[in-house]
Amino acid sequence: MMRGVGTLVLSLFLVEGCARESRNFRLDPPIAASLDAVAPMPNRIGGAAPETDTVLGQPYLTNAYNLNQGKQLYTWFNCQGCHADGGGATGPAFLSGWWRYGPQAVSVFISIRDGRPEGMPAFGNRLTTEQIWQLTGYVRTIGAYSAQTAAPSRNDAMQSRPSENRAPATVATPSDEWPTAPSR
Protein backbone atom coordinates (compact mmCIF):
# COMPACT_ATOMS: atom_id res chain seq x y z
CA MET A 1 0.00 0.00 0.00
CA MET A 2 2.72 2.46 1.01
CA ARG A 3 4.73 1.41 -1.98
CA GLY A 4 1.75 2.07 -4.23
CA VAL A 5 1.25 5.52 -2.77
CA GLY A 6 4.95 6.24 -3.10
CA THR A 7 4.91 5.20 -6.72
CA LEU A 8 1.91 7.40 -7.38
CA VAL A 9 3.52 10.43 -5.78
CA LEU A 10 6.75 9.84 -7.69
CA SER A 11 4.95 9.56 -11.00
CA LEU A 12 3.08 12.78 -10.30
CA PHE A 13 6.41 14.53 -9.84
CA LEU A 14 7.68 13.07 -13.07
CA VAL A 15 4.59 14.15 -14.96
CA GLU A 16 4.94 17.63 -13.55
CA GLY A 17 8.53 17.75 -14.69
CA CYS A 18 7.50 17.02 -18.24
CA ALA A 19 5.53 20.22 -18.46
CA ARG A 20 7.60 22.96 -20.03
CA GLU A 21 6.90 26.62 -20.42
CA SER A 22 4.81 27.54 -23.40
CA ARG A 23 6.52 29.28 -26.28
CA ASN A 24 4.59 31.50 -28.53
CA PHE A 25 6.42 31.76 -31.83
CA ARG A 26 3.73 33.60 -33.64
CA LEU A 27 1.72 36.34 -32.05
CA ASP A 28 -1.56 37.09 -33.72
CA PRO A 29 -1.05 40.23 -35.78
CA PRO A 30 -3.53 42.37 -33.82
CA ILE A 31 -1.79 41.42 -30.58
CA ALA A 32 1.61 42.09 -32.06
CA ALA A 33 0.41 45.50 -33.19
CA SER A 34 -1.08 46.27 -29.80
CA LEU A 35 2.25 45.60 -28.09
CA ASP A 36 3.44 48.77 -29.71
CA ALA A 37 0.76 50.77 -27.94
CA VAL A 38 2.61 51.84 -24.83
CA ALA A 39 1.34 54.94 -23.06
CA PRO A 40 4.42 56.85 -21.93
CA MET A 41 4.46 59.69 -19.48
CA PRO A 42 5.00 63.13 -21.01
CA ASN A 43 8.71 63.03 -20.26
CA ARG A 44 8.84 59.56 -21.82
CA ILE A 45 10.05 58.02 -18.60
CA GLY A 46 7.76 55.32 -17.33
CA GLY A 47 4.20 54.83 -18.33
CA ALA A 48 1.64 52.15 -18.88
CA ALA A 49 2.49 48.93 -20.61
CA PRO A 50 0.11 47.73 -23.34
CA GLU A 51 -2.92 45.93 -22.01
CA THR A 52 -2.14 42.82 -24.01
CA ASP A 53 1.24 42.57 -22.35
CA THR A 54 -0.35 42.53 -18.93
CA VAL A 55 -3.09 40.14 -19.98
CA LEU A 56 -0.54 37.73 -21.43
CA GLY A 57 1.28 37.76 -18.10
CA GLN A 58 4.25 39.90 -19.11
CA PRO A 59 5.72 37.18 -21.31
CA TYR A 60 8.80 39.19 -22.18
CA LEU A 61 9.94 39.39 -18.59
CA THR A 62 8.99 35.94 -17.39
CA ASN A 63 9.38 33.57 -20.29
CA ALA A 64 12.84 32.06 -20.69
CA TYR A 65 12.48 31.60 -24.43
CA ASN A 66 11.83 35.29 -24.92
CA LEU A 67 14.76 36.19 -22.71
CA ASN A 68 17.00 33.91 -24.72
CA GLN A 69 15.87 35.44 -27.97
CA GLY A 70 16.55 38.83 -26.43
CA LYS A 71 20.06 37.73 -25.60
CA GLN A 72 20.63 36.64 -29.18
CA LEU A 73 19.26 39.91 -30.52
CA TYR A 74 21.48 41.84 -28.12
CA THR A 75 24.53 40.49 -29.92
CA TRP A 76 23.07 40.66 -33.38
CA PHE A 77 22.04 44.29 -33.30
CA ASN A 78 25.25 45.78 -31.96
CA CYS A 79 24.05 46.52 -28.46
CA GLN A 80 27.39 45.18 -27.24
CA GLY A 81 29.26 47.85 -29.14
CA CYS A 82 27.99 50.57 -26.84
CA HIS A 83 26.77 48.76 -23.74
CA ALA A 84 29.28 45.88 -23.60
CA ASP A 85 27.85 42.85 -21.81
CA GLY A 86 26.01 45.14 -19.45
CA GLY A 87 29.07 47.00 -18.24
CA GLY A 88 28.66 50.00 -20.51
CA ALA A 89 31.02 51.86 -22.78
CA THR A 90 29.65 54.74 -24.79
CA GLY A 91 26.27 53.86 -23.39
CA PRO A 92 25.39 53.35 -19.74
CA ALA A 93 25.78 50.08 -17.91
CA PHE A 94 22.82 47.81 -17.20
CA LEU A 95 24.55 45.83 -14.48
CA SER A 96 24.73 48.57 -11.95
CA GLY A 97 21.06 48.86 -11.14
CA TRP A 98 21.06 52.53 -12.00
CA TRP A 99 18.65 53.27 -14.81
CA ARG A 100 18.92 56.64 -16.42
CA TYR A 101 15.30 56.62 -17.50
CA GLY A 102 13.94 54.55 -14.67
CA PRO A 103 13.76 50.79 -14.23
CA GLN A 104 10.31 50.24 -15.70
CA ALA A 105 10.17 47.91 -18.66
CA VAL A 106 8.15 50.49 -20.56
CA SER A 107 10.98 53.02 -20.27
CA VAL A 108 13.48 50.54 -21.63
CA PHE A 109 11.11 49.68 -24.47
CA ILE A 110 10.69 53.33 -25.38
CA SER A 111 14.46 53.86 -25.26
CA ILE A 112 15.05 51.08 -27.74
CA ARG A 113 12.14 51.88 -30.01
CA ASP A 114 12.39 55.67 -30.15
CA GLY A 115 15.96 56.31 -29.09
CA ARG A 116 16.99 58.87 -26.52
CA PRO A 117 18.32 62.37 -27.04
CA GLU A 118 21.89 61.73 -25.98
CA GLY A 119 23.09 59.12 -28.34
CA MET A 120 20.78 56.10 -28.18
CA PRO A 121 19.71 55.37 -31.77
CA ALA A 122 16.11 54.54 -32.54
CA PHE A 123 15.46 50.95 -33.53
CA GLY A 124 11.75 51.24 -34.14
CA ASN A 125 12.01 50.89 -37.88
CA ARG A 126 14.85 48.38 -37.72
CA LEU A 127 13.28 45.76 -35.49
CA THR A 128 9.80 44.39 -35.01
CA THR A 129 7.86 45.27 -31.88
CA GLU A 130 8.18 41.77 -30.57
CA GLN A 131 11.94 41.83 -31.00
CA ILE A 132 12.14 45.11 -29.12
CA TRP A 133 10.14 43.61 -26.27
CA GLN A 134 12.44 40.59 -26.21
CA LEU A 135 15.42 42.92 -25.95
CA THR A 136 13.69 44.86 -23.20
CA GLY A 137 13.18 41.72 -21.19
CA TYR A 138 16.77 40.65 -21.63
CA VAL A 139 18.21 44.06 -20.76
CA ARG A 140 16.27 44.04 -17.51
CA THR A 141 17.57 40.59 -16.70
CA ILE A 142 21.13 41.87 -16.89
CA GLY A 143 20.41 44.45 -14.25
CA ALA A 144 18.12 42.36 -12.12
CA TYR A 145 18.59 42.89 -8.43
CA SER A 146 15.94 40.48 -7.31
CA ALA A 147 15.45 36.80 -8.05
CA GLN A 148 13.76 36.18 -11.36
CA THR A 149 11.44 33.40 -12.37
CA ALA A 150 13.23 32.91 -15.66
CA ALA A 151 16.65 33.54 -17.07
CA PRO A 152 18.40 33.11 -20.39
CA SER A 153 21.01 30.42 -20.73
CA ARG A 154 24.70 31.00 -20.19
CA ASN A 155 27.08 32.35 -22.76
CA ASP A 156 28.86 30.12 -25.20
CA ALA A 157 30.98 33.13 -25.95
CA MET A 158 33.48 34.75 -23.62
CA GLN A 159 31.87 34.90 -20.18
CA SER A 160 32.75 38.36 -19.07
CA ARG A 161 30.45 38.89 -16.09
CA PRO A 162 28.30 36.93 -13.65
CA SER A 163 25.74 34.94 -15.56
CA GLU A 164 22.14 36.15 -15.68
CA ASN A 165 20.79 33.12 -13.89
CA ARG A 166 22.77 33.81 -10.75
CA ALA A 167 20.13 35.75 -8.94
CA PRO A 168 20.36 38.29 -7.58
CA ALA A 169 22.84 39.12 -10.29
CA THR A 170 23.89 42.45 -8.95
CA VAL A 171 24.17 44.46 -5.85
CA ALA A 172 22.84 47.93 -6.34
CA THR A 173 25.52 50.57 -6.75
CA PRO A 174 26.07 52.61 -3.61
CA SER A 175 24.62 56.09 -3.91
CA ASP A 176 27.95 57.88 -3.64
CA GLU A 177 28.95 56.26 -6.90
CA TRP A 178 25.86 57.23 -8.84
CA PRO A 179 26.78 59.35 -11.83
CA THR A 180 26.23 63.05 -11.42
CA ALA A 181 24.02 64.65 -13.99
CA PRO A 182 26.05 66.58 -16.53
CA SER A 183 25.61 70.30 -16.25
CA ARG A 184 24.00 72.10 -19.16
Partner: protein
Amino acid sequence: MANRTLPLTLPIALLCSGCTGWQSVLDPHAIQASRLEQLIWLFVAVCGVVWVTVTVVLVMALLRRKTPYSHTDTRMTRIVRAAVIATVVIITGLAIVSFYATRGLSSSDATALEIRVRGYQWWWEVTYLDARADQVFITANEIHVPVGRTVSLQLAAADVIHSFWVPNLTGKQDLIPGRDNTLSFTPREIGVYRGQCAEFCGLQHAHMALLVVVESAGAFEHWRQGQLAPAATPRGGEQETGKHLFESKACASCHNIQGGTASGTVGPDLTHVASRRYIASGLLETNRGSIAAWVADPQTLKPGNNMPRVALDASELNALSAYLAALQ
Protein backbone atom coordinates in the same frame (compact mmCIF):
# COMPACT_ATOMS: atom_id res chain seq x y z
CA MET B 1 -1.96 -11.34 -62.57
CA ALA B 2 -1.55 -7.93 -61.06
CA ASN B 3 -3.22 -9.05 -57.86
CA ARG B 4 -0.67 -11.72 -57.27
CA THR B 5 2.42 -9.79 -58.20
CA LEU B 6 1.42 -6.50 -56.64
CA PRO B 7 2.20 -7.55 -53.07
CA LEU B 8 5.61 -8.60 -54.32
CA THR B 9 6.43 -5.70 -56.57
CA LEU B 10 5.45 -3.04 -54.07
CA PRO B 11 8.07 -3.80 -51.43
CA ILE B 12 10.69 -4.42 -54.11
CA ALA B 13 9.90 -1.08 -55.71
CA LEU B 14 10.03 0.62 -52.34
CA LEU B 15 13.34 -1.02 -51.57
CA CYS B 16 14.83 0.00 -54.86
CA SER B 17 13.62 3.58 -54.59
CA GLY B 18 15.67 3.85 -51.44
CA CYS B 19 18.75 3.19 -53.48
CA THR B 20 18.40 6.06 -55.95
CA GLY B 21 17.44 9.67 -55.76
CA TRP B 22 18.97 12.98 -54.89
CA GLN B 23 19.54 12.25 -51.22
CA SER B 24 20.71 8.68 -51.16
CA VAL B 25 23.86 7.17 -49.79
CA LEU B 26 23.50 4.26 -52.16
CA ASP B 27 23.51 6.45 -55.24
CA PRO B 28 26.98 7.94 -55.20
CA HIS B 29 27.96 10.68 -57.59
CA ALA B 30 31.33 11.56 -56.17
CA ILE B 31 34.49 9.65 -55.54
CA GLN B 32 34.17 9.82 -51.77
CA ALA B 33 30.57 8.69 -51.81
CA SER B 34 31.52 5.79 -54.05
CA ARG B 35 34.11 4.65 -51.56
CA LEU B 36 31.62 4.87 -48.77
CA GLU B 37 29.01 3.04 -50.79
CA GLN B 38 31.44 0.22 -51.45
CA LEU B 39 32.24 0.13 -47.79
CA ILE B 40 28.55 -0.06 -46.95
CA TRP B 41 27.95 -2.93 -49.34
CA LEU B 42 31.01 -4.76 -48.03
CA PHE B 43 29.79 -4.43 -44.49
CA VAL B 44 26.29 -5.47 -45.46
CA ALA B 45 27.62 -8.49 -47.32
CA VAL B 46 30.04 -9.63 -44.65
CA CYS B 47 27.66 -8.98 -41.83
CA GLY B 48 24.87 -10.59 -43.80
CA VAL B 49 26.89 -13.75 -44.26
CA VAL B 50 27.83 -13.75 -40.61
CA TRP B 51 24.25 -13.22 -39.61
CA VAL B 52 23.00 -16.01 -41.81
CA THR B 53 25.67 -18.35 -40.46
CA VAL B 54 24.88 -17.50 -36.89
CA THR B 55 21.16 -17.90 -37.47
CA VAL B 56 21.63 -21.27 -39.15
CA VAL B 57 23.81 -22.45 -36.32
CA LEU B 58 21.29 -21.19 -33.82
CA VAL B 59 18.43 -22.93 -35.55
CA MET B 60 20.45 -26.11 -35.79
CA ALA B 61 21.23 -25.91 -32.14
CA LEU B 62 17.61 -25.46 -31.24
CA LEU B 63 16.39 -28.30 -33.42
CA ARG B 64 19.05 -30.83 -32.53
CA ARG B 65 18.07 -33.80 -30.55
CA LYS B 66 19.74 -33.88 -27.24
CA THR B 67 22.50 -36.47 -27.07
CA PRO B 68 24.42 -37.54 -24.04
CA TYR B 69 27.53 -35.55 -23.45
CA SER B 70 30.28 -37.61 -24.95
CA HIS B 71 33.01 -35.82 -26.76
CA THR B 72 30.90 -32.66 -27.11
CA ASP B 73 33.19 -30.75 -24.80
CA THR B 74 36.16 -30.91 -27.09
CA ARG B 75 34.04 -30.25 -30.10
CA MET B 76 32.44 -27.25 -28.37
CA THR B 77 35.81 -25.84 -27.45
CA ARG B 78 37.01 -26.18 -31.00
CA ILE B 79 33.91 -24.59 -32.38
CA VAL B 80 34.04 -21.72 -29.95
CA ARG B 81 37.71 -21.19 -30.67
CA ALA B 82 37.08 -21.18 -34.37
CA ALA B 83 34.22 -18.72 -33.97
CA VAL B 84 36.31 -16.37 -31.87
CA ILE B 85 39.17 -16.45 -34.35
CA ALA B 86 36.81 -15.90 -37.22
CA THR B 87 35.19 -12.96 -35.43
CA VAL B 88 38.52 -11.36 -34.70
CA VAL B 89 39.69 -11.82 -38.26
CA ILE B 90 36.50 -10.46 -39.74
CA ILE B 91 36.36 -7.45 -37.46
CA THR B 92 40.03 -6.66 -37.96
CA GLY B 93 39.58 -6.96 -41.67
CA LEU B 94 36.58 -4.68 -41.66
CA ALA B 95 38.42 -2.19 -39.46
CA ILE B 96 41.38 -2.07 -41.82
CA VAL B 97 39.17 -1.66 -44.84
CA SER B 98 37.16 1.02 -43.06
CA PHE B 99 40.31 2.84 -42.05
CA TYR B 100 41.64 3.03 -45.57
CA ALA B 101 38.29 3.98 -47.00
CA THR B 102 37.65 6.84 -44.62
CA ARG B 103 41.22 8.04 -44.75
CA GLY B 104 40.84 8.53 -48.43
CA LEU B 105 37.86 10.77 -47.86
CA SER B 106 39.83 13.87 -47.02
CA SER B 107 42.31 14.78 -49.63
CA SER B 108 44.39 17.88 -49.63
CA ASP B 109 44.43 19.25 -53.09
CA ALA B 110 46.06 22.55 -53.91
CA THR B 111 43.71 23.18 -56.81
CA ALA B 112 40.59 22.49 -54.78
CA LEU B 113 37.74 24.95 -54.80
CA GLU B 114 37.66 26.44 -51.30
CA ILE B 115 34.27 27.08 -49.82
CA ARG B 116 33.50 28.01 -46.25
CA VAL B 117 30.20 26.74 -44.94
CA ARG B 118 29.00 28.25 -41.70
CA GLY B 119 25.99 26.71 -40.05
CA TYR B 120 23.41 28.93 -38.41
CA GLN B 121 20.16 27.99 -36.80
CA TRP B 122 18.62 27.00 -39.30
CA TRP B 123 20.32 27.89 -42.56
CA TRP B 124 23.67 27.57 -44.25
CA GLU B 125 25.94 30.47 -45.08
CA VAL B 126 28.21 29.67 -47.99
CA THR B 127 31.28 31.81 -48.69
CA TYR B 128 33.33 31.18 -51.79
CA LEU B 129 36.91 31.97 -50.88
CA ASP B 130 39.56 33.29 -53.18
CA ALA B 131 43.03 34.72 -52.85
CA ARG B 132 41.74 37.92 -54.43
CA ALA B 133 39.36 39.65 -52.06
CA ASP B 134 37.07 40.98 -54.73
CA GLN B 135 36.38 37.44 -55.95
CA VAL B 136 34.98 36.44 -52.57
CA PHE B 137 31.19 36.26 -52.40
CA ILE B 138 28.57 34.98 -50.01
CA THR B 139 25.43 33.03 -50.76
CA ALA B 140 23.13 30.79 -48.75
CA ASN B 141 21.74 27.27 -48.75
CA GLU B 142 22.89 26.37 -52.23
CA ILE B 143 26.38 25.36 -53.32
CA HIS B 144 27.38 25.21 -56.98
CA VAL B 145 30.49 23.30 -57.95
CA PRO B 146 32.11 22.36 -61.24
CA VAL B 147 32.12 18.67 -62.07
CA GLY B 148 35.36 16.79 -61.70
CA ARG B 149 37.08 19.36 -59.50
CA THR B 150 37.79 18.66 -55.86
CA VAL B 151 35.86 20.89 -53.50
CA SER B 152 37.29 21.59 -50.07
CA LEU B 153 34.75 22.75 -47.51
CA GLN B 154 35.82 24.63 -44.41
CA LEU B 155 33.11 23.95 -41.88
CA ALA B 156 32.32 26.43 -39.14
CA ALA B 157 29.32 27.03 -36.94
CA ALA B 158 27.88 30.23 -35.64
CA ASP B 159 25.85 29.00 -32.70
CA VAL B 160 25.41 25.28 -32.01
CA ILE B 161 26.73 22.05 -33.48
CA HIS B 162 25.38 21.22 -36.92
CA SER B 163 26.47 18.54 -39.35
CA PHE B 164 26.97 18.76 -43.08
CA TRP B 165 25.62 15.76 -44.94
CA VAL B 166 25.09 15.40 -48.67
CA PRO B 167 24.75 11.65 -48.97
CA ASN B 168 25.24 11.43 -52.72
CA LEU B 169 28.57 13.15 -52.47
CA THR B 170 30.34 12.33 -49.23
CA GLY B 171 29.94 11.42 -45.60
CA LYS B 172 28.94 13.57 -42.65
CA GLN B 173 31.12 16.10 -40.91
CA ASP B 174 30.14 18.19 -37.93
CA LEU B 175 30.18 21.97 -37.80
CA ILE B 176 31.37 22.80 -34.31
CA PRO B 177 31.45 26.34 -32.93
CA GLY B 178 34.99 27.46 -32.25
CA ARG B 179 36.54 24.67 -34.28
CA ASP B 180 37.44 24.37 -37.94
CA ASN B 181 36.62 21.11 -39.67
CA THR B 182 37.23 20.29 -43.30
CA LEU B 183 35.46 18.05 -45.72
CA SER B 184 36.22 17.48 -49.35
CA PHE B 185 34.55 15.74 -52.23
CA THR B 186 35.10 15.33 -55.95
CA PRO B 187 31.80 15.15 -57.86
CA ARG B 188 31.74 12.89 -60.90
CA GLU B 189 28.40 13.57 -62.54
CA ILE B 190 26.38 16.65 -63.24
CA GLY B 191 23.23 16.84 -61.19
CA VAL B 192 21.43 18.35 -58.24
CA TYR B 193 21.87 16.74 -54.83
CA ARG B 194 20.12 17.45 -51.61
CA GLY B 195 21.75 17.51 -48.24
CA GLN B 196 20.59 18.33 -44.76
CA CYS B 197 21.80 18.99 -41.28
CA ALA B 198 22.64 15.74 -39.54
CA GLU B 199 23.12 16.88 -35.96
CA PHE B 200 20.14 17.96 -33.94
CA CYS B 201 20.42 21.71 -33.64
CA GLY B 202 17.09 22.94 -32.38
CA LEU B 203 13.52 23.49 -33.32
CA GLN B 204 13.90 23.51 -37.06
CA HIS B 205 16.69 21.01 -37.46
CA ALA B 206 14.46 19.04 -39.79
CA HIS B 207 14.05 22.02 -42.10
CA MET B 208 17.71 22.79 -42.54
CA ALA B 209 18.33 21.44 -46.00
CA LEU B 210 20.76 22.51 -48.63
CA LEU B 211 21.34 21.84 -52.29
CA VAL B 212 24.56 21.05 -54.09
CA VAL B 213 24.38 21.73 -57.78
CA VAL B 214 27.13 20.07 -59.81
CA GLU B 215 27.47 21.58 -63.25
CA SER B 216 29.91 21.89 -66.09
CA ALA B 217 32.88 24.19 -65.72
CA GLY B 218 31.39 26.72 -68.10
CA ALA B 219 28.04 26.79 -66.36
CA PHE B 220 29.76 27.12 -63.01
CA GLU B 221 31.84 30.06 -64.14
CA HIS B 222 28.74 31.73 -65.53
CA TRP B 223 26.96 31.23 -62.22
CA ARG B 224 29.96 32.52 -60.28
CA GLN B 225 30.13 35.70 -62.32
CA GLY B 226 26.45 36.21 -61.73
CA GLN B 227 26.91 35.87 -57.98
CA LEU B 228 29.79 38.37 -57.95
CA ALA B 229 27.69 41.00 -59.65
CA PRO B 230 25.67 43.39 -57.49
CA ALA B 231 21.95 42.88 -57.19
CA ALA B 232 19.72 43.37 -60.21
CA THR B 233 18.43 46.91 -60.55
CA PRO B 234 14.71 47.05 -59.89
CA ARG B 235 12.62 47.41 -63.03
CA GLY B 236 9.34 49.20 -62.74
CA GLY B 237 7.63 51.11 -59.98
CA GLU B 238 6.55 48.12 -57.95
CA GLN B 239 10.09 46.76 -57.69
CA GLU B 240 11.41 50.22 -56.85
CA THR B 241 8.89 50.47 -54.05
CA GLY B 242 9.90 47.03 -52.91
CA LYS B 243 13.56 48.01 -52.78
CA HIS B 244 12.75 51.12 -50.83
CA LEU B 245 10.66 49.09 -48.37
CA PHE B 246 13.40 46.53 -47.97
CA GLU B 247 15.93 49.18 -47.07
CA SER B 248 13.73 51.22 -44.78
CA LYS B 249 12.04 48.44 -42.83
CA ALA B 250 13.46 45.77 -40.59
CA CYS B 251 14.67 43.70 -43.55
CA ALA B 252 17.90 45.63 -43.91
CA SER B 253 18.87 44.97 -40.30
CA CYS B 254 19.40 41.28 -40.98
CA HIS B 255 19.87 40.81 -44.72
CA ASN B 256 22.46 42.00 -47.18
CA ILE B 257 21.79 43.00 -50.76
CA GLN B 258 24.90 44.20 -52.57
CA GLY B 259 24.40 47.42 -54.42
CA GLY B 260 21.97 48.90 -51.93
CA THR B 261 22.13 50.11 -48.39
CA ALA B 262 20.95 46.87 -46.82
CA SER B 263 24.04 45.36 -45.21
CA GLY B 264 22.84 43.10 -42.43
CA THR B 265 24.78 39.90 -41.87
CA VAL B 266 22.53 38.13 -39.39
CA GLY B 267 20.34 36.42 -41.97
CA PRO B 268 21.04 34.89 -45.39
CA ASP B 269 22.51 37.05 -48.11
CA LEU B 270 19.67 37.91 -50.49
CA THR B 271 21.62 39.54 -53.30
CA HIS B 272 20.70 36.70 -55.68
CA VAL B 273 17.94 35.01 -53.76
CA ALA B 274 15.81 34.36 -56.81
CA SER B 275 18.62 32.46 -58.48
CA ARG B 276 18.35 29.74 -55.86
CA ARG B 277 15.98 26.85 -56.28
CA TYR B 278 14.63 26.97 -52.76
CA ILE B 279 14.16 29.52 -50.06
CA ALA B 280 14.17 29.12 -46.30
CA SER B 281 16.79 26.41 -46.48
CA GLY B 282 14.99 23.95 -48.67
CA LEU B 283 11.52 24.66 -47.38
CA LEU B 284 9.78 26.22 -50.37
CA GLU B 285 10.54 26.39 -54.06
CA THR B 286 11.57 29.84 -55.10
CA ASN B 287 8.88 31.83 -56.81
CA ARG B 288 7.14 35.08 -56.10
CA GLY B 289 4.28 33.41 -54.31
CA SER B 290 6.41 31.43 -51.92
CA ILE B 291 8.57 34.46 -51.23
CA ALA B 292 5.46 36.42 -50.38
CA ALA B 293 4.18 33.61 -48.19
CA TRP B 294 7.48 33.40 -46.36
CA VAL B 295 7.80 37.12 -45.80
CA ALA B 296 4.18 37.42 -44.72
CA ASP B 297 4.32 34.75 -42.07
CA PRO B 298 7.59 32.90 -41.54
CA GLN B 299 6.58 31.60 -38.14
CA THR B 300 3.72 29.52 -39.44
CA LEU B 301 5.87 27.93 -42.12
CA LYS B 302 8.92 27.34 -39.92
CA PRO B 303 7.88 27.87 -36.31
CA GLY B 304 10.62 29.09 -34.03
CA ASN B 305 13.02 30.21 -36.72
CA ASN B 306 14.78 33.51 -36.27
CA MET B 307 13.00 35.51 -38.93
CA PRO B 308 10.33 37.66 -37.31
CA ARG B 309 7.03 38.56 -38.84
CA VAL B 310 7.35 42.09 -40.11
CA ALA B 311 3.99 43.79 -40.27
CA LEU B 312 3.24 44.61 -43.90
CA ASP B 313 0.06 45.49 -45.67
CA ALA B 314 -0.98 43.95 -48.96
CA SER B 315 0.55 46.50 -51.31
CA GLU B 316 3.82 46.47 -49.40
CA LEU B 317 3.93 42.69 -49.56
CA ASN B 318 3.27 42.80 -53.29
CA ALA B 319 6.04 45.29 -53.88
CA LEU B 320 8.52 43.46 -51.69
CA SER B 321 7.88 40.08 -53.24
CA ALA B 322 8.15 41.57 -56.72
CA TYR B 323 11.53 43.05 -55.82
CA LEU B 324 12.88 39.90 -54.21
CA ALA B 325 11.63 37.60 -56.93
CA ALA B 326 13.57 39.64 -59.46
CA LEU B 327 16.91 39.30 -57.69
CA GLN B 328 18.36 36.69 -60.02
